[in-house]
Every structure is written in C-alpha cells, then in structure tokens.
Assembly symmetry: none
Homo-oligomer: 274 residues x 2
Amino acid sequence: MSRDGADVPPDRQPALQALSLLSGKWHPTVLIVVARTGPIGFNELLSRVPDVSGKVLSETLDALGDAGLIRRQVVSESPLRVEYAATEAGRDMDAVFDALADWGRQHLETAVPTVLLADGDRRITEMYAGWIRDRYTVVRVHTTNELADQLRTDPDVVVLDEGLPGGDLHSLHRTVGSAPRTITLIGDRPTVDLLDAGGDDVLRKPVVRSTLLETIEAQLERQGESPVRRERAAMEARLALLESIHPTGRLEASEVYLDARERVAELDSLLADD
Amino acid sequence: MSRDGADVPPDRQPALQALSLLSGKWHPTVLIVVARTGPIGFNELLSRVPDVSGKVLSETLDALGDAGLIRRQVVSESPLRVEYAATEAGRDMDAVFDALADWGRQHLETAVPTVLLADGDRRITEMYAGWIRDRYTVVRVHTTNELADQLRTDPDVVVLDEGLPGGDLHSLHRTVGSAPRTITLIGDRPTVDLLDAGGDDVLRKPVVRSTLLETIEAQLERQGESPVRRERAAMEARLALLESIHPTGRLEASEVYLDARERVAELDSLLADD
DNA sequence: CTGTATCCCCATGGATACTG
DNA sequence: CAGTATCCATGGGGATACAG
C-alpha cells in the first residue's frame, strides 16, 4: 500500500504497521468476535457476522492468520470442520480495542445519539440503517434475545417492529423499558389493542425515509420531557393513528378506546395545572 | 460502510466506531503528524507526508476535522494561510497509538533491518541515507576496504555501486558474499557482462527515492527464500534490464546471454517440480 | 462443512489542471 | 498559499456457482 516515506516519528511507526493489520473492512470485527467467542467454526462465525460474504470472511481469516492474530485448527476432515481461535497476539489486541473503546466512549458516544433498529428482517434493518447511519450511531438486532442484549448500548431511540421474532408487542415493550424513546412499527391494520401497548410513537409499515428521519428526530427532541407529557404524546400518537383508519363511531364502541380518551383528558388536566 | 448488525459485544462497538475514523489510507499518518508537529500549514504537511496527493490530503483533513480530531484555523487571508492542529480528542488518540505501538513492538518483527550503502561519492550515500534512515539502520562506506570492514555489521541489504573504488564488479560481489541481499547500482549502459556479475537486483543510476525504498523493501521481503528462487529472481532482474536497453536480436548474438536464458529455463524446470 | 473460482461493481484515491 | 474540479485507474469487497 506504500504508505512509507512520511515523516512519522519512529515511535509511531510500529503503530501504523499494527493498524494496517486491522485495515480490512471486516478485520477488526472478525478478530473481536473470534477473540470473544473462543474457538469457533466457519459457519458460526458467518452467522455471527451476518453481513460479510463467505468469500470475504475466508479472505479475512486468512489475513488475520497471516498476521498471527488468529489460529486455524482443523478439528475433523470429512466432514471438514475447522476452528478459529485468537492467538496470544490476537488477545493482546484487547489493549488496543480497550483504548479505542475508551476514546469512543469519551468523545463519540456523548455527541452522536444511538438508534437501535429491531426488526426480524435483515434487509429492512439494513435499509433503515442506510437512511440514518450518517446522523446516528446505529445498532441492528433481529431477535428478541439480541434486543435484550443490545439494550446495554443504552440507545436513545428504539425503532421496534411489532413482529420481532421471540415476543409479542407487550413483552417487547416490557423488555425495552422506558429509558429509550420507542417508535413502534406495525404492519397490519392496528386494532384498539394498540392503545395499551406502550411506546412513544407508532408508524405503519411501509415506512419511508423522510418519515423515519422526522420521527426519530422528534423523539430525540422530546428526550427529558416529563412523564406526563410523554404519556400524553404517546396516547395522542396512538389515537391519531387509529382514528385515521377506523371510523370514530366504531372506535367509540370499544371500551379500551373510551378508557384511552378518558386517560387523555386526565393527563390534560394534570398538564393544565402548570 | 454498513458494518453494523454483527454480533459484537456492546463494549467493543465504540472501538469499531473510533477505528472507522482512522480507516482512510492516510488518516492515521496525517493525524500523527499534525498532532506531533503542532500547528502546521497545508503545504508543510504535504511535504512531510510526501506520498499523499493534494486532493487526498485535503479530503483527509476534512474527514479528520469532521471527526473532531483536528481543528482548522485560518491564520491570514490573502495570502491565504491556514493551520491545522490536533484537538483534545485528537491528542487523546495518543493512547490508542501508544497501545498500537506497544502491540507492534511486542509482536511485529522488532529488529530494524540494516542497510549498507556502498558508493564512492559521499554526497550520494548521504542522499540515499536521508531517504531510508527513518526506516532502517544505515551504514555508509565509500571504498572497498571500508566495505569489507563494515560487512561485519551483518547487513540485511547491501546497496552496491559498481564504481566503488578499489574493486571491479566481480570482486566486489565476492567480497560481499551471499549472506546479505545485494542491490547493484550501475551507471553506464550495461553490457552482457552484467549477467554473471552476482547480486539480487540491479538499478540504473540515477536512482530515485521511491525506487530505492521499494527495491530494498522487496529484497527484505524475499529474505529466506530458496536459493533456486533467489537465483531465478536475480537472473530475471538482470535480463529484464538488458532487454529494456538492447534489442533482443543483438543480445541473442551473445554467448553469455544465451547461457543465461538457458539457465533461467533450467531454474524454472526445477521450480516446476514442486 | 468449508472453502475456491469467477465475475463485476464502485468507492478510494491518484494525476492534472485550474481558481480565489 | 490552499485548495477545488475533473477524470480515471485500481483493487477491495459483494454475489453466485461450484468443489473437496
């Protein structure tokens, strides 16, 4: 790659060399996963790093192997079965990743909001991610288990598809909790059950780019508002969606709907006291 | 670049993001130079990182600026004069580079190769030394006696001018032996005598910086190869040089040339046996 | 199961010319 | 001096098919 000839202090040159070992698109990710997950087979690795192609994963493993960061061990021939594990050199890269993570937490995470995208379909989360990744830190999950796991990233906004595998709408919202602002994505014609589902806003699929951006931005702007205002806005959003679809007459026949309307009035009176 | 969606532990994700800020070919180098050299103008930066083009340097500085790693300050308009300096975030990257450098020193080949420069003209060796002394340990000699003497430093590469006072090309190569990789520098139009002169590669003078660096690096990378491969590469280099200068018809009239071609075929058949 | 072999796209970055 | 504007080459990486 010919990056030499530069006037780099001698004590920094090993750093540049070391960095070049991590320069492939998937090199750092694969190294981290191999180091963390211990001895791991090719296909399990593929499933844990889903967006990498087999060819590139193979090349990446080769390169990391050549660099001495991981070791390849043939566990059985026919059926061929191999295992990749971090070498000592690979494990020692932990110090580098620690330093990077420290830097990131201090200088990155504070400024850029994190948005967690939860949908069973990878192509969907990939599309959404493409729309927003230049403005936010994006985390993608595709099952309820992954969701529970990645909530540790403390996202500012969760975009939650109601059909996420592994849970119904209510349990999903319980999993997410109220720390992040939550935008629920629904596919079917919503029923009045939506009303006590939880979440701060609701969008019907399919979602277009501008709507998603505006909705996320609106939620970010509401961060820190009072619980009362927050619940009022959430109710408002759900009611508006329902009323845009079902005739008011039908809705008024529903107990849940009337309860919700009453709750709104209650919240409004609380707000009026200020 | 869409690297999300992977099963990376949450504590590692800020590391990946931070790393992505250093992912451009010249990003780390430029950041290091800016951080070390303090406030620095565009063109001085360009001269300290000689292999980067103006366009790419400009883009790199933009990206580092957007990432908050460096700051751009206009010092004077007309003539326009700007200065780039590291921000606190940029300086904090030192911890990352320290970790990388520590890793590199521990796990990369830590021995700095030694290059012996042999040329009758002190100004020439001084120039060459200036080109390479930040990457290699440099020894300069200016006579055959000094050469024999300094070979005790056990150099990895010898850069040998054919006109070194005190010996002809053949005796020089006999003096050097085959332990170091040898690059021969020739000034005149080479004759077929070159073919049995010895040495691993040949350069015609004047030699430019990038060529010398690349040729030395190529020889270092070939260290430890089999004698057959080594001779094959050496023959190839000499033949290529001759053929680039003399018409093939003339060469084929020469016994030495035909012998050499035959020797190449012989070596190739040896290599083909593997 | 674990990879090659192929083909192709496009982002990165290089060269050159021009501008405020 | 400090950059854009333009054009173009390269190769890293993606998709798919196939092989040991």
